[in-house]
C-alpha cells in the first residue's frame, strides 16, 4: 500500500514537471525542430509498445490468434477510431464489441 502511494506521488510529480517545465520554458525559448519531431513519435511508439503485449500475450505467453478475444475486439475498435476520431465513442464501441465476443465465444 505504502509503495502504491509513492509510485503515484512520483508519477504525478514527474508528469506535472513535464507539463509545467515545458510550458514555462516554451513561453520563453524555441525548441529545436528535431527534438519536437522526435517527441511527436514517442507517444505512438509507447502506445504501440503497451498495446502489443496487451493484445498478443497473456502472462508472457503467446495467445493463439483464433481464440484471442482482445485482438479480435481490437479490429472494430481501430475501425471506429480511424473513422470517427472520437475518444469516448471509440472506447464505448470497443467495450461493446469485447462484451459481445466475451459472452459468445
Amino acid at each position: 500500500m505504502e509503495s502504491q502511494l509513492w509510485i503515484i506521488f512520483l508519477i504525478g510529480a514527474g508528469t506535472y514537471l513535464f507539463r509545467a517545465g515545458s510550458l514555462v520554458l516554451g513561453s520563453r525559448v524555441q525548441w529545436s525542430e528535431r527534438t519536437k519531431e522526435w517527441l511527436s513519435y514517442v507517444s505512438p511508439a509507447v502506445l504501440g509498445a503497451l498495446l502489443g503485449p496487451l493484445l498478443l500475450l497473456d502472462e508472457g505467453q503467446w495467445v493463439p490468434i483464433k481464440g484471442n478475444i482482445m485482438l479480435l475486439a481490437a479490429i472494430p475498435t481501430i475501425a471506429v477510431a480511424w473513422w470517427t476520431r472520437r475518444l469516448l465513442l471509440t472506447v464505448t464501441a470497443g467495450i461493446a464489441c469485447f462484451a459481445v465476443l466475451y459472452y459468445f465465444m
Partner: protein
C-alpha cells in the same frame, strides 16, 4: 470579449471533454476497485496524476506486480508527450503572469491541449479566464467520475469488471488511431509493439516498453526524415 463571455465560451468548449472524462474516470474507479486498489488511492491518483492513460496503465501494472522503478520509468516515458504539448502551448501564454503559467500546466491533458490549442491556432489570444475555466471544469469532471467509480466499484459484478478491462486497450487504440497517423507514426507504433511483445515473451516486460518507446520513436523519425528528403529531391 468580456471576462464573462470568455468564461461562457470556455464552458461551451469544455463540455464535450467533460462528457468524455466523466464515464471514463468512472471506469477507472471501478477497475481500480476491482483490482484491489483502495478508494482513497484511486481518488488521490486522479487528483495528483490527472492523466487517464497513465492511471489506467498504473492499475494494470500494479496487477501484474511489475517492479516500482519500471512502472514509474515506463509511465513517465509515456507522459513525455506532455513536454511537446507544453512547448507548443507555451508561446500562447507568454503574456501571462508567471504563477498563472504554473497553474495552467495542471490542466494540460491530451484532450484539453488539442481543444485549447485549436483556439489559439485560430488566432485567438488565450486569456487566463478562458483557459483556467476550461482546465478546472475538465479536472473537476475527471475527479467527480473517479469518486463515483471508486464508490460503486465494490458492487460491480466481476463479469462486468472483466468486460470493462477492455477499456484500457480501447483507450490506447483510440489515442493511437485518432491522433496523427502518417506512415512514420504507424512505423513507430509497430516497432514499439514488436519490441515490447518480443521482450514480453522473454519475460523482460519493462525493458521492452522503454526500448520499444525509444527505438520506435527513433524509427518513426528516421522514416519521416528519409521520406521528406526523397520528396525534396523529387521537387528539385
Amino acid at each position: 470579449m468580456s471576462r464573462r463571455d470568455r468564461v461562457a465560451l470556455a464552458l461551451k468548449d469544455v463540455l464535450p471533454i467533460m462528457l468524455a472524462y466523466f464515464p471514463l474516470s468512472i471506469t477507472f474507479g471501478v477497475l481500480a476497485a476491482a483490482s484491489g486498489v483502495p478508494w482513497h488511492t484511486s481518488i488521490f491518483s486522479s487528483i495528483w496524476i490527472y492523466s487517464g492513460g497513465a492511471q489506467f496503465m498504473l492499475i494494470s501494472m500494479l496487477d501484474t506486480a511489475t517492479a516500482p522503478t519500471t512502472i514509474i520509468a515506463t509511465i513517465l516515458l509515456v507522459n513525455m508527450r506532455h513536454i511537446l504539448y507544453g512547448a507548443t502551448m507555451g508561446p500562447n501564454l507568454a503574456h501571462w503572469r508567471e504563477p498563472l503559467k504554473w497553474l495552467a500546466a495542471v490542466g494540460l491533458t491530451d484532450e484539453s491541449f488539442v481543444v485549447t490549442y485549436n483556439r489559439a491556432a485560430a488566432g485567438e489570444k488565450l486569456a487566463p479566464s478562458y483557459y483556467l475555466t476550461f482546465a478546472l471544469a475538465a479536472y473537476g469532471s475527471w475527479i467527480a467520475g473517479t469518486v463515483v467509480g471508486a464508490g460503486i466499484g465494490e458492487i460491480v459484478p466481476s463479469e462486468a469488471a472483466a468486460v470493462l478491462s477492455f477499456a484500457l486497450p480501447a483507450l490506447f487504440l483510440a489515442l493511437l488511431f485518432a491522433g496523427e497517423r502518417t506512415l512514420p507514426h504507424l512505423l513507430a507504433a509497430c516497432t514499439g509493439a514488436a519490441l515490447a511483445t518480443l521482450a514480453g515473451l522473454m519475460n523482460l516486460g519493462g525493458i521492452g516498453l522503454i526500448s520499444g518507446g525509444l527505438i520506435g520513436a527513433t524509427a518513426g523519425q528516421l522514416l519521416y526524415r528519409q521520406r521528406s528528403r526523397i520528396s525534396k529531391q523529387a521537387k528539385s
